[in-house]
């Protein structure tokens, strides 16, 4: 912005572009689509992106540190499915919660350990653990695809909570976003994530505990996924494990990448997640109002994600000199 207040087009970055597109889309939808610009629908938009946004927050922290977590959706769905299954077969609530939390932490630790200490690319580690988590929980711990929330359980009551007619998950999303913002911006370890993502070797050389922090990020991402899963179960009164095989995972990456968090790490923040979530939320809502079938929505989302990755590749070109062999 210059002195008069006009946007400086020369310094437009991806975040700015996406924000502008979101605003234009919002305006167009408000004018063109009946029933878009209503209080109910706006709340619905925010609500629909809040779980996505929460997952994207966890993903953002991992991506900024030059990683990626493809197991997030599997952890989200399967941890909650196991939790509800334990409750349904009569395990005491506290104990069940402890079991599941321990499982979630264990998977996060495993991800982090393999990435940080075994030097395995994050993409493969999390792809493998995601597949394992889904397969193990689905085949060994639960009996059917969908697990319902038990009657009158706190998860069910959580889903019904409203504040100023706005569902609770919106506030959870807002609070989490604010916390992550504070963490990334004002804490020492938050800043370190940027250093480690920008240049891991240099970060390690100046004495930053790069490896323990890597583990921490994957644990964080797993815990965030668990929280998102609880919120999903709260609003739907059950959890459907088929979500693991849906495109939700790619929506999360989409939100992060399209908001302008470079996949090569070290760039972006909570604001980018919010901008990305806004665009995706508006888009999905508009497509639903226009009544585009879900399959076509997937096609459109994939096309947008492809475009986002191409733009990301052009804006943040990979440096052949510092790129590691096998960095795929």
């Amino acid at each position: 912005m210059n002195a008069i207040g006009w946007p400086n087009f020369k310094s437009l970055n991806q975040e700015g572009i996406v924000f502008a597109i979101a605003v234009v889309l919002f305006a167009a939808a408000s004018v063109g689509l009946p029933g878009f610009f209503t209080a109910d629908n706006l709340v619905a938009i925010v609500r629909s992106v809040s779980v996505l946004g929460i997952l994207a927050l966890g993903m953002a922290v991992v991506i900024i540190g030059r990683g990626i977590d493809l197991s997030a959706v599997a952890i989200m769905a399967m941890s909650v499915a196991w939790y509800l299954q334990l409750l349904n077969i009569g395990t005491p609530d506290g104990l069940a919660f402890l079991y599941v939390l321990a499982g979630v932490l264990a998977i996060g630790l495993l991800n982090g350990f393999l990435v940080a200490y075994a030097d395995v690319p994050a993409i493969f580690v999390t792809l493998a653990t995601g597949s394992f988590v889904f397969g193990y929980v689905r085949s060994q711990l639960i009996t059917q695809d969908a697990v319902p929330v038990p009657q009158d359980h706190w998860v069910e009551r959580l889903g019904g909570l409203r504040f100023l007619d706005i569902p609770i998950e919106v506030f959870v999303f807002a609070a989490l976003a604010f916390l992550v913002f504070l963490f990334l911006r004002y804490t020492k370890w938050g800043r370190y994530i940027y250093f480690a993502g920008d240049n891991p070797v240099a970060a390690r050389n100046i004495g930053i505990p790069v490896r323990p922090m890597l583990v921490l990020r994957y644990v964080l991402s797993a815990v965030v996924a668990f929280a998102a899963g609880l919120l999903t179960a709260a609003s739907l009164h059950s959890i459907n494990t088929r979500v693991v095989n849906s495109t939700l995972l790619y929506d999360i990456v989409l939100v992060a990448v399209i908001g302008g968090i470079g996949l090569s790490g070290g760039r972006g923040g909570v604001r980018n997640v919010l901008v990305g979530a806004a665009l995706i939320g508006i888009l999905l809502n508009a497509m639903t109002i226009i009544d585009i079938p879900l399959l076509y929505q997937n096609l459109i989302k994939a096309a947008i994600l492809l475009g986002a990755i191409i733009v990301d590749g052009i804006i943040n070109p990979r440096d052949e000199q510092t790129a590691q062999q096998g960095d795929i």
Partner: protein
């Protein structure tokens, strides 16, 4: 010998520790783990599941295997080129649908259906290739997105046209044959997979495009610098992967006569797991089609076996996840630590008790007693030279020597002030000799036996000998050709000091002290090279006896000189003529008085001799200490020894100041002077020999007077 030493000698001389390191240097050890996994998988499931190996059950699973292994072959090629293709499942499904659509709905011929399937696969692959190869996007995410895109497209198409396909009456004998028939007992899909695998294997290992793929995968930047079109190569790998997946898709379309929502589901993670489990490296450059196929069999056996054992939904994903994580981790750790493990275990010292020796202390009165005569030598090329291992003079009195920079330098007579590069060879020229026609023959470290004509044409004479059957390390290659000499009939006798180390690692060979040195002969008449003797501790200098009927050669780490008979009753055998010297012998050359000059590259020390009796200590030393702290043979002191035909020591020359010629690797007598070289020295010395024949030259001695 004490009991402890006897145990040590048994332990270290009879247990072949060195084989572990030699096996680890082999590329085929990479295949061992996946192969064992394959055998274990087949054995486990074969024994658990009744009728697993029955023909009917095999027939069905091999059909599936044929389709799957084709996809894996495509994935393998992409991974060898340094990428990854997660969209194979979508390509597979879309190709399957294309074939089904053309055949059942448009009711065209089966060949047109095949063309449609291939077309779909190639176009999809080209899009991937363009995005990743030319736009240089990240392979993993890009193909992940094109995978979702393709899957969404496929789901839309399948739900739209499923009913039409069901109602279609189209049928074809060809389709039924491809789907159900067998040819020589194998189904069409297996034949197709075999042909594809063979062609791909040959292309990868024996054609230029295949080598380009491996080069790009091995090191993208180097491939670019070498002039390979990296982007086009990457592009082609994805097109090829699309091609492979589309044939697989066509085959499944024939087999199932339709396409359903399950077609190609989870195929990408299965193919990826198969490739990685088989041992195709992430990041490219390492792997093969065969490895991919092994992985394909393992993965398919596991997943099918688990289904047949009745495990429920999700088991496949669980097992795939575990296999992928374990295989990737092993792959990364193995690649990263292989050379470390190799360094750890390669040096395998043996026990040796060196014999008592006479003293070389100045004034000790023994024939070996060193003096200070060499310190008086004039210097030639001081500061210009690096590493004149051997020196030689021609009939015109010009002086030649090899240097560390891979050159043979000539110093011009009479004052040897001016020098020129006579020839550039490339390796480290060590031993030198002139043949009858004035060609300069040189043993070049790590390269072989070379000849340089007077017109400076460099020619390789020999770089290999016959491979011995029992050796694991490739002993056909000459690793450390060290010195040579020429018999009157023109045959060149030369030494190859060690089979286990390259020339610059001679110090490791001295610490290991394993007897792997050889004496070889090169016959210029037919260009053949033969191994004459094997099993010496670092064979070094070679010198033809004055009568040309035998030769002397030095065995450095054992401090011995042997005589090898070319003619006479002892022809073909060697006998030790000097043993237990106080110094490590190097080159040997003729002297004018009918005796022989021998260089000492270093002197024995009590400490190193003691360490030779403690192989366990030397093993620990090489594993735990930095190289600077290792105990080496002392090469800071050397000398020149003259011995006679019988092996008796005549005199010993040394440089006690340690400045001019601390270590000597070669000396050559010429017209009353001794020219002295050292592999770590920065000069050639010229020492006036009192009482020597002022007209004697080595070429005359070998080949008669001037022509």
């Amino acid at each position: 010998m004490t009991f402890r030493e006897r145990l040590q000698s048994w332990r270290y001389n009879f247990v072949p520790d060195h084989l572990v390191g030699e096996i680890l240097t082999k590329r085929w050890t990479d295949n061992a783990i996946p192969f064992l996994a394959l055998v274990a998988t087949l054995a486990t499931f074969g024994s658990i599941i009744p009728g697993f190996f029955k023909l009917s059950s095999l027939q069905d699973s091999t059909r599936q295997l044929g389709e799957f292994s084709m996809v894996v072959t495509g994935m393998t090629v992409v991974m060898l080129g340094g990428g990854i293709d997660l969209s194979v499942g979508s390509i597979f499904a879309l190709s399957c649908f294309s074939a089904v659509y053309v055949f059942f709905i448009l009711e065209q011929s089966i060949w047109l259906a095949l063309a449609a399937a291939l077309c779909a696969g190639l176009v999809f692959g080209a899009v991937n290739g363009y995005l990743i190869g030319y736009l240089r996007l990240r392979a993993f995410l890009t193909t992940l997105v094109t995978f979702i895109f393709g899957r969404a497209l496929f789901d839309i198409l399948v739900t739209t046209y499923a009913a039409d396909v069901q109602l279609s009456n189209a049928s074809s004998n060809v389709l039924d044959f491809i789907g159900d028939g067998t040819f020589w007992g194998l189904s069409v899909s297996v034949w197709a997979a075999i042909i594809l695998a063979v062609v791909t294997h040959v292309a990868l290992t024996r054609s230029r495009p295949g080598w380009h793929v491996l080069a790009v995968g091995g090191s993208r930047r180097s491939a670019h610098n070498a002039g390979i079109r990296v982007r086009r190569t990457v592009f082609m790998t994805y097109v090829f992967s699309g091609f492979c997946a589309s044939i697989g898709g066509f085959l499944i379309a024939c087999r199932l006569s339709g396409a359903g929502p399950g077609t190609g589901l989870n195929l990408e993670i299965m193919a990826l797991t198969a490739a990685v489990v088989g041992g195709v490296s992430l990041g490219g450059g390492r792997g093969s089609v065969v490895k991919g196929l092994m992985g394909a069999i393992i993965v398919l056996t596991m997943t099918n076996g688990l289904i047949r054992l009745g495990y429920g939904t999700g088991t496949n994903q669980m097992v795939l996840g575990i296999m992928l994580a374990v295989a990737v981790t092993i792959d990364i750790r193995w690649l990263k630590n292989r050379h470390k493990v190799l360094n750890e275990v390669y040096v395998a010292p043996v026990y040796l008790k060196m014999g008592e020796t006479q003293s070389a202390v100045p004034g000790s009165g023994t024939p070996y007693a060193l003096d200070n005569r060499l310190s008086a030598a004039d210097h030639i090329g001081l500061g210009e030279l690096e590493g004149p291992e051997d020196v030689i003079l021609d009939r015109d009195d010009h002086l030649y020597c090899g240097t560390r920079h891979g050159e043979i330098v000539r110093f011009l007579a009479p004052d040897y002030k001016r020098s020129e590069v006579f020839a550039h060879i490339g390796g480290f020229p060590l031993g030198l000799a002139f043949d009858r026609d004035g060609n300069l023959i040189s043993c070049v470290g790590a390269m072989g036996l070379y000849s340089v004509s007077p017109q400076r044409e460099v020619k390789r004479l020999s770089a290999e000998t016959a491979r011995s059957w029992t050796s694991i390390v490739d002993d056909a290659r000459l690793r450390d050709p060290n010195d040579c000499d020429i018999a009157p009939d023109g045959r060149i006798y030369f030494t190859d000091s060690t089979k286990r180390y390259d020339a610059h690692d001679w110090a490791l060979d001295s610490i290991e002290n394993r007897a792997t040195g050889r004496l070889l002969v090169y016959d210029p008449k037919d260009g053949s090279t033969k191994t004459l003797l094997d099993g010496y501790r670092y064979t070094n200098g070679v010198c033809m006896a004055h009568d040309g009927k035998s030769l002397f050669f030095a065995e450095s780490w054992a401090c011995r000189v042997h005589r090898y008979w070319l003619e006479g009753p002892k022809a073909g055998t060697a006998e030790c003529v000097i043993r237990d010297m106080p110094g490590y012998p190097d080159n040997i050359n003729r002297a004018s008085d009918g005796n022989y000059w021998m260089a000492w590259l270093g002197m024995r020390t009590p400490s190193f001799d003691l360490s030779l009796r403690h192989p366990d200590m030397r093993k620990r030393m090489t594993r735990r200490l930095p190289q600077d702290d290792w105990l080496f043979p002392n090469i800071n002191t050397g000398g020149v020894v003259k011995f006679n035909e019988k092996g008796g020591i005549v005199e010993t020359l040394g440089d006690l100041t340690g400045t001019a010629h601390p270590m000597v690797t070669s000396m050559r007598e010429h017209k009353g002077y001794l020219f002295v070289g050292g592999i770590l020295n920065n000069r050639i010395g010229r020492y006036k020999i009192s009482g020597a024949d002022p007209n004697w030259t080595s070429p005359d001695s070998y080949w008669g007077g001037k022509r």
